[in-house]
Symmetry: C2
Subunit: 101 residues, 2 copies
DNA sequence: TTAAATTAGACAAATATTGACAAGTCAAAA
DNA sequence: TTTTGACTTGTCAATATTTGTCTAATTTAA
C-alpha cells in the first residue's frame, strides 16, 4: 500500500471530502488529489498537517510516507534486496557509533 | 562505509589522482573531491563514469551509491528499522505483483 | 620553502518542485 | 436531460534546489 492509497483509505473511512481535508491543510483540493493518487509527493509539513486533519498519529504517518519514498527509489531496481541489505548494515554501524558517544 | 569513502579507497588503492579520475569523468576535480567527501551527491551518470574510470563493476557501484542515498534519508530517523521493515514488505508485494504479469 | 594535490566558498546557469487556477470527467440527484 | 458536487487533469509562473566551474585557500610531500 502506497502512502497515497493509505491516506485515501483513512479519509474515506472517516467520510471526509477531499476539499474538507485540503482546506484544513491549507492547500488546493487538486493538490491533495494528486498526493492521494501518487502523482505528487507530499512535503513533510503536509504529512504533518494531514495527520492532524485525519487525527492520525504523526510519526506513524511520517514513517509510511518515508517508506513510500524509499520504495519509489527502489522499485525499478533489480537488486533492491541487495541494496536494502547494505542499508541495514550501514544503519547498524551508525547506531553503534552513536552509542559510543 | 559511505559511497564517498568507498570510491576514495578504491582510487587510492589504484594510486590515481583526483584530477586523473575527474578528467576521465569530464568533471572538475573539485566536484569529485566533494563527492568523495560526501558534500556533494554524484549523479547516476557520474557513478557510471566512475565505474569505468576505476575499472569497477558498474552495478555494484550503483548499488553502493543507491544504498548511501537511502542511508542518508534514514540517518536522522529514530524509527529507521521500522521504516525499513515497511519498505521490505512493500518491495515483496511489488515483486509478487510483477510475477503475476 | 616550493610545488602539487586537495578542499572550500561563491556564483550563475540549469533543473526540479511547488501551489494554484481553469477546465475536464464522472456519477448521482433533480 | 440538465444540474450539481466530488474529484481529476493539464498547464503555468514562481520559487527552490542542484549543478558544475572558477578562484582562492589549505594541506601534503618532497
Amino acid at each position: 500500500m502506497t502512502f497515497g492509497e493509505h491516506i485515501r483509505k483513512l479519509r474515506e473511512q472517516k467520510q471526509l471530502l477531499l476539499r474538507e481535508v485540503a482546506s484544513q491543510m491549507h492547500i488546493d483540493t487538486a493538490l491533495l488529489s494528486k498526493i492521494e493518487r501518487g502523482t505528487r509527493i507530499a512535503r513533510k509539513e503536509q504529512v504533518e498537517a494531514l495527520a492532524i486533519a485525519l487525527k492520525e498519529n504523526k510519526n506513524e504517518l511520517l514513517n509510511v510516507w518515508m517508506a513510500d519514498k524509499i520504495v519509489n527509489m527502489l522499485k525499478d531496481e533489480s537488486n533492491s534486496t541487495e541494496i536494502l541489505k547494505k542499508v541495514e548494515e550501514e544503519i547498524k554501524n551508525l547506531t553503534n557509533k552513536k552509542q559510543q558517544l
